[in-house]
């Protein structure tokens, strides 16, 4: 099954900035939600969200971590 790369963002407290904390590979959004929550469970997060890497549009560095096409799917 083809997997999609999702980046994981979270913040510990209301008002904190969302921080990039890692990524997961999953076959769809719903499974990625659970993988992210269960993989990055070292904190009691106030908020966590995931973004398919393919949806991230690089602004100033075309070859960086979030370069177009680095996320599968």
């Amino acid at each position: 099954m083809r997997e999609i790369l999702y980046d994981v963002f979270a913040r510990k407290n209301r008002g904190d900035a969302l921080a990039h904390i890692g990524y997961v590979d999953a076959i769809d959004d719903e499974i990625a939600r659970v993988y992210a929550w269960k993989t990055y469970d070292e904190e009691h997060w106030f908020e966590m969200c995931i973004v398919p890497r393919s949806a991230i549009i690089p602004v100033n560095r075309q070859e960086g971590l979030f370069a177009r096409g680095r996320g599968r799917g």
Partner: protein, 263 residues
């Protein structure tokens, strides 16, 4: 939610035995579910799936611990039940008696067995027993993620190649009868718990479960309304006949760590 709070000191011997049976079936099932998840920490379809299985195993053991602790309300020592029973005394749902042979069986168990446990726990949390009202909602919040993973994987396998779909349907069909028998138990101890407002009536529990999982199971070609509960009921334990395999029970009891228990 039930209006009145259950008065434990007003329960007669049969009522206390019925509450004990309900709690032990829940706790033993959670403990065995955790063991079955733990078998897939390695060998799951991906690293992330293995991590999720590890986390769910820990969740289940945490839930088991909280449920066993409720037995103190009945003047029972949870440590004895956790660490000193033979396999034949375990009251876990019969679908957990053997290790899952493949990932399709794990997914089926997530939906059918974990789903039945959550259905009973929802009823328990909304009933008259104060400890359940206080402790079970957190378990159900953690189970929300198990349910999401279960549904997503179930859909994925149901729409995959014929071999995966066949394995999924076969495992689902095998697990439903013992799970339905437990969730829909209506013998005297089960009815005593309904009378006391501890849980909803058997029919309502079954209806809710069938409604929750019916559409999902249909994707693998399983008609939950057509599956009949198992009839080999053991009223003394509140489960179908049989017992978990000895190796799983040794792990559940912590036989290899007895000298190291820190309780």
């Amino acid at each position: 939610m039930a209006d009145a709070t259950l008065r434990l000191d007003a329960l007669d011997e049969e009522g206390r035995a019925a509450l004990r049976r309900l709690i032990v079936t829940l706790a033993d099932s959670k403990r065995l579910m955790g063991i079955r998840y733990s078998d897939w920490l390695l060998g799951a379809p991906s690293i992330e799936t293995g991590i999720a299985a590890a986390s769910m195993a820990q969740d289940e053991w945490g839930h088991a611990r909280l449920l066993y602790a409720m037995l103190k309300d009945l003047d029972l020592d949870p440590l004895v039940l956790e660490h000193d029973r033979a396999a034949a005394e375990y009251a876990s749902i019969g679908a957990l008696d053997e290790p899952f042979p493949d990932w399709a069986a794990v997914v089926a168990a997530m939906v059918v067995v974990d789903g039945a446990l959550s259905a009973m726990l929802r009823s328990f949390a909304g009933g008259s027993y104060e400890a359940a009202r206080g402790r079970v909602p957190k378990m159900l919040a953690e189970e929300e993620f198990h349910g999401s993973l279960a549904a997503a994987w179930y859909r994925r396998l149901a729409s995959a190649a014929e071999e995966a779909r066949t394995l999924l349907a076969k495992a689902t069909q095998a697990m439903l009868p013992p799970a339905l028998a437990w969730l829909g138990a209506a013998d005297a101890p089960a009815e005593a718990m309904v009378e006391a407002g501890v849980v909803a009536p058997a029919g309502a529990r079954l209806e809710r479960f069938r409604s929750d999982v019916g559409a999902l199971l249909a994707e693998a070609g399983v008609d939950v309304a057509a599956v009949r509960p198992a009839t080999d009921w053991d009223a003394s334990r509140g489960r179908t006949e049989g017992a978990p395999d000895e190796e799983a029970v040794e792990r559940a009891r912590g036989d290899r760590n007895r000298a190291l228990f820190v309780e």
